[in-house]
């Protein structure tokens, strides 16, 4: 064997384990979901078949359609708030914290909660937002309300709040990354030529940080589209999302129906991601 062909083979051997993991635990499962979405459910287990019943039942059921719309609502609201918050935080860190050591420390402060348990982070809202929680105590003591406000917890408000709390890291990190890459000379040049602070932001900083925004948005969209834990914990009983619907269907062993929902969910997510990628070219960032 020549040295060159060994080099080629060696490369493929090196990437083989990682590729294998994703073929086994990502590609194969998704192919199986697509396959099973055409199967039938006979009341207690799934049976191989080819039927479109699962799909027709999704699009003809007003409950399912509403659940999808509700999920979009969560996606949009979470995206909107994480973007605003994430951008302001990243902007502050990148341009207003001059000392590099402080920059790193404050960035770590923003990222550490991401490495802790999501479940615990959601539980920790109970003493704050609950019926006898801090916010209600404050409102009553100030005389702003007579009765405790009920919709603070176990509501759509709580769900969006919980998701913004859990996922803002995914917006901050990529935006911070792209802001840090902006050549500071460009900003000085713009200012020297008489651009106002807002003009500098609009003409230079915003376009150059667009890839970061795009990457953050992709994360938020995909995380929230499949959400069911936050919806379950922060939303109480009534709130619905596609993820929660799928989970409930699995609970009653309706795998084909759950699979069909998952396929629609995946397609919608892919369309959203493609849409983002069409608007912004992120390849420079990768």
């Amino acid at each position: 064997m020549t040295a060159k062909s060994w080099k080629g083979l060696e490369t493929y051997l090196l990437v083989a384990p990682q590729t294998l993991i994703f073929l086994l635990f990502l590609v194969l499962p998704i192919l199986m979901i697509v396959l099973v979405s055409f199967w039938q459910f006979n009341g207690y287990s799934m049976v191989p078949a080819f039927t479109l019943d699962n799909y027709t039942s999704i699009f003809t059921s007003s409950v399912t359609v509403k659940t999808f719309l509700n999920t979009f609502k969560y996606v949009f609201l979470t995206w909107f708030f994480t973007l605003i918050i994430g951008y302001l935080v990243a902007y502050f860190l990148a341009f207003y914290v001059k000392d590099q050591r402080w920059q790193i420390i404050l960035f770590l402060v923003c990222t550490v909660p991401f490495w802790t348990s999501n479940i615990i982070r959601m539980i920790s809202w109970i003493p704050v937002l609950g019926k006898e929680g801090l916010v209600n105590q404050l409102l009553i003591n100030l005389g702003l309300v007579q009765q405790p406000v009920e919709w603070l917890l176990y509501s759509d408000f709580a769900i969006v709040l919980g998701m913004v709390h859990l996922y803002n890291f995914f917006m901050i990190a990529p935006i911070f990354n792209s802001l840090m890459r902006i050549d500071r000379n460009l900003i000085t040049a713009a200012q020297d030529m008489g651009a106002s602070g807002f003009q500098t932001f609009k003409e230079i900083i915003l376009p150059l940080s667009a890839p970061g925004i795009a990457i953050g948005s992709i994360f938020i969209v995909t995380l929230v589209m499949g959400e069911f834990v936050t919806v379950r914990m922060m939303g109480g009983g009534q709130s619905a999302s596609v993820g929660k619907l799928i989970q409930t269907q699995i609970g009653s062993l309706q795998y084909p129906l759950a699979a069909a929902n998952a396929v629609v969910l995946l397609l919608v997510t892919l369309i959203l991601v493609m849409g983002i990628l069409r608007v912004v070219d992120i390849r420079k960032e990768l």
């Binding site: 994703f22 539980i123 704050v128 995909t222 995380l223």
Partner: protein, 269 residues
């Protein structure tokens, strides 16, 4: 200049509020877990003691935490180790161009952005069709890898991007084999980063919930056990458990940051 400093203070105040939003609630349950035995789920605090922290280790009516903790610990260590091995190998390969590199890259990234519920459902269906039983150490392990390996891989690419190839070329010119070059040159140089990836992989796995939730089989990992508790437990024991497991995560992150900084510094000297 005057105007600029006003923006600074506004943004700094916003940042402060954001940090409060991030950490405030967590701090709340830390404080509430230190209540006396008569304590409840909300403020004000009733008494002060370590009663509830101790309760976590007692026999529980609703669940046992020691075994799920040990399971999560073991799984986290295995996942962290596997993530490192796999991503280092792939990282080495990605230093040269090869056909299919893009495919592998996008395959890995897509694992991060596939809605988690699909991973759980998909692996569940595969196991169902193959007539295998789902368990935290089989299907759960696979699900965790789909979450930790992409992170490890991305960090690895960053490390090898900054890696100076002159050292290993020198070693090879002196006749060292690829394997020898790796162990004697590359490995010591990337070791601090590997340690960081190990801890990050561990904490990601230790706290993972969504991807495992439908396919953990009979025995729960710790996050699943805690989730089960949320519906039944109405005492500060829940907060105490949250406090302990969060402190554990904080400690791990602290060690990672500290060791990384220290080893990186030693290498510079």
């Amino acid at each position: 200049m005057q105007k600029r400093s006003l923006t600074f203070y506004l943004l700094a105040a916003f940042f402060g509020l954001f940090v409060l939003f991030l950490y405030g609630p967590m701090l709340g349950i830390f404080i509430l877990s230190l209540q006396g035995p008569e304590g409840g789920l909300t403020f004000p605090m009733k008494g002060f003691s370590f009663y509830w922290l101790g309760q976590v280790f007692q026999e529980q009516r609703v669940g046992n935490f020691v075994e799920p903790f040990l399971r999560s610990l073991f799984l986290g260590l295995v996942i962290a180790f596997l993530s490192i091995v796999v991503s280092v190998l792939a990282g080495l390969a990605f230093r040269s161009r090869f056909r299919g590199a893009n495919t592998v890259f996008y395959l890995t990234i897509s694992s991060l952005i596939v809605p988690s519920v699909l991973i759980s459902l998909g692996i569940g269906i595969v196991f169902q069709v193959l007539d295998l039983s789902t368990d935290w150490f089989s299907s759960g392990l696979g699900a965790h890898l789909t979450w930790t390996v992409p992170f490890a891989f991305l960090i690895m690419l960053g490390i090898f991007n900054r890696f100076d190839p002159a050292y290993e070329e020198a070693a090879k010119d002196l006749g060292a084999s690829d394997v020898k070059t790796f162990w004697e040159i590359i490995f010591p140089l990337i070791l601090p980063s590997l340690f960081g990836i190990f801890i990050l992989g561990f904490t990601l796995s230790y706290d993972e919930f969504t991807r495992t939730s439908l396919i953990s089989g009979q025995d729960n990992t710790l996050p699943l056990e805690i989730f089960g508790m949320t519906t039944n437990v109405t005492s500060p024991a829940l907060y105490a458990l949250g406090t302990l497991t969060t402190l554990f995560s904080f400690t791990m992150i602290g060690i990672a940051i500290f060791a990384y900084g220290r080893m990186a510094r030693r290498q510079q000297e």
